[in-house]
Symmetry: C2
Subunit: 395 residues, 2 copies
């Protein structure tokens, strides 16, 4: 078990009917005026916008709105919102939406207190040490951004999708009402679940194997899989929504990192190139990359891959045969819930692999190397490795 620091100061207010608490939370933090960021307007259809606005009014909080944040959120929208935040001298940022909105809110909160272009933080030219206080009302459970210091933004001009991480980016308060997710399209529920499972697996396979973190990882993955299947049958199953929502939060709030080596993250980075280049859903991209990566690297960590097969799918046996059965079972589950498991499924031609690899290697140069990080851990991936993984993912 590796040494670690666990420190997660975010306050989570969780459950049905909790959205009207947002005004009180913001007021208690001494905020008088804030930026209110949201996406394409689904929050106006499902009543979330009205609940938020009523609560803000009731607690005398002023706000300015910026809307139109897209999935795979883009830098230009962050720039637009930073400008508004600076001009209007807001004291906090409230994001209401899914991971894309909350990640954008984080970038805006940091950008509002930075003289230069906040993209600098994504390419290793600036380490974020301060940000406006961040609040959010989460409407899609997937990325875990509601309880961590991470944000991922796409520079749409350069087709670069990079992440940042800072203690200053932990939300002060996140409100999670799982019932607002009843109306999500099936794909979004599934991709959210795949994203959450992937976060857990990035840690699970990183070459460490602390028993308590293994047990918690396995229990959380089993829960996510079970709840996803229930939600495909019945999207308004509150118990399933709530279990999935909390599982997605703890998948990336530090819980899964305990005693481990920091996670693999190769699949996430390769996926970022897919969604940067093709604007596919992050969860879809992960479903394509993960099984291929597993097949390519399992020899570097066979015991943990055996354990995965046994504990997640109840498979028996040992060695390579068991491992491959486990990977196949995972791929079959992804298919069963409707996720794409190949580039072909997502309409990405195999001929594009070189272009994708170029984009991945650009990320390695511009985002990882400045942090002293490499692509992967149990196997550090070079250009040809990424190429082989994408070939395995082709069909």
């Amino acid at each position: 078990m590796k040494n670690f620091v666990f420190h997660n100061p975010t306050k989570i207010v969780f459950g049905r009917g909790t959205i009207p608490k947002i005004g009180e939370e913001i007021k208690n933090a001494g905020i008088r005026k804030m930026l209110f960021l949201y996406g394409g307007g689904s929050i106006k259809k499902n009543g979330v916008y009205d609940q938020v606005v009523d609560s803000l009014k009731k607690h005398g909080i002023e706000w300015v709105e910026v809307s139109g944040v897209k999935p795979n959120p883009v830098l230009s929208k962050v720039h637009e919102a930073v400008e508004v935040a600076k001009k209007e001298k807001v004291e906090a940022v409230l994001g209401v939406g899914g991971g894309s909105v909350v990640d954008s809110a984080k970038a805006v909160a940091a950008g509002a207190l930075y003289e230069g272009d906040i993209w600098d933080a994504f390419i290793g030219k600036y380490q974020i040490e301060k940000a406006l206080p961040i609040f959010d009302v989460l409407t899609i459970s997937a990325t875990g951004t509601e309880m961590n210091g991470n944000a991922v933004i796409t520079n749409e001009k350069t087709k670069e999708k990079y992440g940042v991480s800072s203690k200053a980016l932990y939300p002060k308060v996140s409100i999670i009402d799982p019932s607002v997710q009843f109306t999500l399209p099936k794909e979004q529920t599934v991709y959210g679940a795949v994203d959450a499972i992937s976060h857990i697996l990035e840690y699970y396979f990183d070459g460490s194997s602390p028993e308590i973190s293994n047990e918690i990882a396995e229990g959380t993955i089993r829960t996510i899989m079970k709840m996803t299947e229930r939600l495909i049958e019945k999207p308004d199953d509150y118990e399933a929504r709530a279990n999935l929502a909390w599982s997605a939060t703890i998948a990336l709030n530090g819980t899964m990192a305990v005693g481990r080596r920091g996670g693999e993250w190769a699949c996430h980075r390769i996926e970022h190139s897919l969604s940067a280049l093709y604007d596919i859903a992050h969860g879809a991209g992960l479903a394509i990359v993960f099984p291929a990566w597993m097949k390519y690297v399992y020899r570097n960590n066979p015991k943990q891959f055996e354990r995965f097969a046994k504990r997640i799918f109840g498979l028996e046996g040992e060695g390579e045969e068991l491992i491959l059965k486990g990977i196949e079972a995972f791929k079959n589950w992804l298919k069963k819930v409707g996720a794409p498991v190949s580039l072909k499924d997502a309409g990405i031609p195999e001929e594009d692999i070189d272009k994708i690899v170029d984009n991945v290697m650009l990320l390695v140069e511009k985002n990882l190397k400045p942090k002293g990080a490499s692509l992967g851990r149990i196997k550090v991936l070079e250009r040809e490795d990424v190429c082989e993984i994408l070939k395995l993912a082709a069909k």
Copy 2:
């Protein structure tokens, strides 16, 4: 899944060799002078005291010492330390030791900012809203106090052992170096493990059954049991110490409470009377009370007791037969690791049961009723119920 708030601001610094970080953490919080509280001097034998003192000196932090905190920590020692804290105008309290020291540090930190007698907080006459910043170096994994806002103190004059809970009592920073527990007597390791399992079970059986919290509870209990067995064989097994230490922390840091009804806590309350009257170890008392309570109440929550038997002990079957096999398996495990499982094992005569019940009912009146709480949840226990449970625990 019940609505909940999760907010745990304590910073945990975990692992081998982390104790020398204490000075830096205290300095970073802007503290110049503090009270340094510890127990009977074992920290002077195992090198922990020297590590702490070196670190404090290195960072220019002044301190005054109060030592002699006993297991089942007593109010008179808290009074003594509060007086020192007030007179010396300390800015923080550092507890170095096990749960008794950290709980005392919390009571002192609150007492230092309260005009009256801090015992008022334990009998519903004062709600703790402020306390000096609390730091600790944990040397026994058991109570989980290192990452929660709870403290339990015994008023030795009145034989009352009561708890308080406040947001102001979360430690600012807790340092956990599992390697300092290599030299613990076997009983202390075992009783710590039993205490941690009991915390989880108090939530597990409270009439709720959220899947994610069930999975995490079961995985953590299995880990604790496995690691305890390893440590009986090899007390300096670092991996086992570390897994047990973190499991004990999350057993009572909010993780197990997610989506539940707030926990049962009847066994803990009944046990507090045993350790108040007989000064036995808290973990020993819990091993005596828990199986008896389980036998007495399982009909009020049979599905969860069936699940316990299956998931913790891998038993098969259903209904009452399975439940009773599960309870028996738990009792056998407690025996196997050397815990007492009856009043007789602990040298407490059956004739004392009435006296014990008197003490429990006093706790109900003076500590629970002021909070609007009852003794137990799936079955609210009256005098005669407590009596029956203790009879079941007699031999």
